[in-house]
Each structure stands twice: as structure tokens, then as C-alpha cells.
Symmetry: C2
Subunit: 315 residues, 2 copies
């Protein structure tokens, strides 16, 4: 790797002007098939890769989008990210993946960095302590995951649908004392929405409504279940698979095989360890795809910003 080749080198090597090489690179139809073949041959032969920096500078678009997840090892966000990458790559965009670790300050740092890199847009996974106010600057080039906010496009999972689907199954199976373990309502979607779906279902079906909320780690699932469970409980619905993992451990210790446990996420590990736990996928991957598509639409001015997308998942 002595000195990277440039478009000019390729031009000389194939006996054409650099704009022709540029045209070949950009799939411009106005190129003689013969010359195109020749140029492409030279490009392959020398393994030439056009410089994105130069292109970015010229076109004022880096063909890059930032994705800020809360945690890289979150199973659910991971699925969404895979969906995003699928569509981004397909459309010729690259992604810069970053981790906020639920820290608003890190989000700001990352956004600044992404700005310097000249990203075309950003997809941000929301979390409760996130200050959404000063995201205004990004407005039409930002998609918020799992949280609605005025003026900003967002994609939410089908929180309510997932919970409802689970509850219907439990109800059909004859369960009548169904408790709920959730996360604090400061979390608008995973917290408030899923709890709300539970409460609503209970009201509709005249079921007793018993629940507790806390943080979203396994320990919390364990602790809350320990607090909430009664001898009469015949099902425990958890807002996430992580909580369900903790709850499962408690139920196992207590030998409460009579209690049907459920989660949200279709986490493979949960399924392996506790196969009896019922879990649904609220369409994480699909949500990721939608988010990326919406972002690209906005960037290409085909769509107004500020769509609030809440896909309903297919069973």
C-alpha cells in the first residue's frame, strides 16, 4: 500500500479523462459500454477504491448515518440495528455505531462528533433521562427510536400490541390472576405504554390489576417478582425479556411451576434457559428497517419530517 490511487491514475491508465472514470463510478448511463468495460477492468485490476472523503466534500453528503444505541449488547436494540444496516447498506449508506450507555452527556458528545463527520442523519435510541429539547437542531435529520416527541420523526415498537397479544393468550388459556412487572413510567414506551396496555386489558376483562415497576435489569425482575407474587397468581407478564429472566429465576427457586411467565423480545437465551416462558417479538428488526427507510426518505426530501411510526407486529 504505497500511495492510494486516485481517479486520475485510473483515467490515465485506461486512456480516458477523469470525468469519464467518475461517470463509470457513479453509474452514469451516458458512457459508451466499451469504455465503461475498459475502465471497470482497470479499476478492478488495481483494486481502486474511490475516496469517500473527497466525494463527501464535493457532494456535501458523506453517505453516512449515525446510530446511537443505549448499549451495544442490548439484544433488542441489536435486532433493530441489524434491520437498519440492512436497508442502509442496500442504499449505499454506511453507518457509524455508537453507544450512549444511557448517558445524555455521551449522546451530546456523539452528536457533535457525528456533525464533524458530516453525517447525513442520525438514528437515536431514546432512554428516560434523555433531554430531547436540544435535539431540535437535528430535527429533520433525526429519527428517534422508542419515543415520540413533537417535531421529530420516531419509530416505536408495537408495545401495546405485544402486551395485548400475550394477555389474550393467557386469558384464552384460562389464566385469571395475571400480575405485571414493568419498568418505571419515566420510560414512556417500555414503561408507560406497556403498563397501560396491561391496565386496559384488565379493565376490559374485569381482571384484578396487580403490578410493580422498577429498573430494567434482571435483578429488578427478580426482586419485583418476589414482592408481587401471591399464592393466587397464575401468570406473570413482564415488560421485557430481561425482566422475565430475573422473574424466571425467582419462580424456579420458589418452584412455582403453576405460574405462566411471559416476556417481550423473543430473546434466544431466555428461550433456551427457560423454554416454558412465553415471549413475543414486537418487531424489532422491522422497526429498525422502518426507521432507516424513514430517515432516507426525509434526507432525500421525499417526505416531510415528523412521521410518528408505530408498526403493528405480525404474529
Amino acid at each position: 500500500m504505497t500511495k492510494r490511487l486516485t481517479i486520475l491514475d485510473i483515467a490515465r491508465l485506461s486512456g480516458v479523462g477523469k470525468s469519464t472514470v467518475s461517470r463509470v463510478l457513479n453509474q452514469d448511463p451516458n458512457v459508451n459500454p466499451q469504455t465503461r468495460d475498459r475502465v471497470e477492468a482497470v479499476i478492478r485490476e488495481h483494486g481502486f477504491e474511490p475516496s469517500k472523503s473527497a466525494r463527501a466534500m464535493r457532494t456535501n453528503s458523506a453517505r453516512l448515518v449515525g446510530i446511537i444505541v443505549s448499549r451495544l449488547d442490548s439484544a433488542s436494540e441489536n435486532r433493530a440495528v441489524r434491520g437498519m444496516l440492512e436497508v442502509l447498506y442496500a442504499r449505499g449508506y454506511d453507518a457509524m455505531l455508537m453507544e450512549s450507555e444511557f448517558d445524555p452527556a455521551k449522546v451530546d458528545e456523539h452528536l457533535a462528533l457525528l456533525a464533524r463527520r458530516g453525517v447525513d442523519g442520525v438514528i437515536l435510541f431514546a432512554f428516560s433521562s434523555l433531554e430531547l429539547e436540544h435535539l431540535r437542531a437535528w430535527q429533520d435529520k433525526l429519527i428517534l427510536m422508542a419515543r415520540d416527541w413533537p417535531q421529530i420523526s420516531s419509530v416505536c415498537y408495537d408495545d401495546q400490541g405485544a402486551i395485548r397479544q400475550i394477555l389474550e393468550k393467557l386469558y384464552a388459556a384460562g389464566r385469571r390472576q395475571i400480575d405485571f412487572i414493568g419498568v418505571d413510567q419515566s420510560d414512556a414506551t417500555t414503561g408507560a405504554l406497556r403498563l397501560q396496555a396491561y391496565q386496559q386489558f384488565c379493565a376490559e376483562h374485569q381482571l384484578p390489576c396487580r403490578y410493580l415497576t422498577g429498573s430494567l435489569d434482571v435483578q429488578s425482575g427478580y426482586d419485583l417478582t418476589a414482592k408481587l407474587l401471591t399464592p393466587a397468581t397464575d401468570a406473570v407478564v413482564c415488560a421485557t425479556d430481561t425482566l422475565a429472566m430475573g422473574a424466571a429465576k425467582y419462580l424456579q427457586e420458589q418452584q412455582r411451576h403453576d405460574v405462566q411467565l411471559t416476556g417481550v423480545g423473543n430473546n434466544p437465551l431466555l428461550h433456551f434457559l427457560f423454554p416454558q416462558v412465553l415471549s413475543v417479538d414486537p418487531g424489532y428488526k422491522q422497526a429498525g428497517r422502518l426507521a432507516a427507510e424513514q430517515l432516507l426518505l426525509q434526507l432525500e426530501q421525499q417526505a416531510e419530517p415528523c412521521a410518528q411510526i408505530a408498526p403493528s407486529h405480525d404474529l
Copy 2:
């Protein structure tokens, strides 16, 4: 966000030439403190962010390094990545995170993409089916994680040390029939090295040597344990925490509370679900830091390429 400001705008706004602004940006000491202050004020006031693309093009260095992990949700690689980011960010580099999903073809795609982006270097987490031969092109700008290869710098975890440490504890606790669950030896480090450490310890201490290897998912841990376990077994050493998770499930089902199980990785989830399992951290995060440091050293020509680093972990 109308039109991004440029260095020239800042120059005009603060009544200086653009080269002075550039000097301020690059901490050039040859700048009158007064002017510096003035320029910096204007920069802050307008939230100006210099364009990385332009800078990259001019300096022929994007201050960017690619990191290709096998899976984003791998707990161990995650820890290493955090270590890398720590040093990269501190030195003013950004990172582009990508996922190979154990697919050599994806690695090639990602490398091509990184080349176009003009990355300064790449850190690549190795896996068994990876074809290392054509990595030669990257040679001195590449660090390989968890695998040695001639001519290429690498950072390995302390595979043998971790296994040995575990075995010493078990031995000290009076365990004498210690079985081993590993991964195929096609995996040079997690596979071959860890098994080898086990075999060596057995030989040294005249212990029976019983082991099986397979893939590195939980199911494999479960299956292999089922095959390997005998009534006489009093400990099972697993090459990774993932395997240990599967093994733990089997032991639990069989009520084999007499068997001491161990893993490698210090995975928090494993510790929560099966607190009795003993696990050590082979220094993932530290390995990540070392990898990043070595890469930067090479990039800045301070060090020859091809260092083979194998840190020993501190208890």
C-alpha cells in the same frame, strides 16, 4: 441547520485570515493569545465544527479506525471494544464499528468499505473460518484480536492463564475429577489454547483428562456436558461463560449440586443466574486498550508492526 459554516466564515467573523483560524483549530503555538481567544470565542458562539472530510482529504488521514467484531452482542468482545474506544477517543480518533457475524465475506466487504473511508487502521476480531492470507494488504495498519498470524500484530487474551488460574483454585479446593468443555480446535485461541492449558495442568498434576469440544453456543455447552458428565465428576471447566451457561442448565436439571462449574469471562448474567459458577475475566477490556494503543503506535510510526501481545491478567 441552513448551511454549515466553514473556516472561512469564522475567519471573516473574527476579522482574521483563514489560516489563522486553522492554526487555532490545530493548537499551533504560533498564534497571538489575543487573536486566539477572539477566534475561539467566535467558534464557540457559532457552534462551528470543522469538517472532518476536508481535513481527512488534506492530511491524508481520516483519524478513523475500523473495528470489526464478530457479533455486536458478544459480551466479551464488547468489553474489549469499550477498552479500545477509551483510548481511541482519548487520542482524537473515531471508530467505525462493524459486525462480521463470523462470515469471512462480510469481513472483506467491511474492509473494502473501510478502505474507501480512508481509515487509518483496523482492529479485527478473528474467528476460525477467517481467511487470514489476504489480510496482508492491511499488514501494518491492522491488529488481529485473539489470534496470532505471521507479519501481523495481534493481541490475545490470556487464555492459558485464565484456565490455569481456575484449575488451581479447583485443585486447591480438593477437586480431582475435573472435566473440560471447550470449542473446536479450529479456533486457535479459545479452542486450542484453552484446551491445551487444561491438558497441561492435568498432566502436571496427574489428573485424569476428560474433555469434549464443539461450537461456542449455549446449546453446545448443554449437550457436551450431558455427554461428558460421569457420577465421579466433581468439577466442569468451560472454555467460555456461554458454554458454562448451557452446562449450568444441565447440571441444574440433573441436580448435580456436587459439581463445581467454571467459566471464563465474568459475564454478569451468568453470575446472576448461577452464582455458584466460578468465572474469571481474562482481561478483555485491558486487551482492548492494548490493541488500540499498539495500533496507534504503529500508525504513528513509533513502533514496528507485528507485535504479538499476550497480556497476563491480574487476578
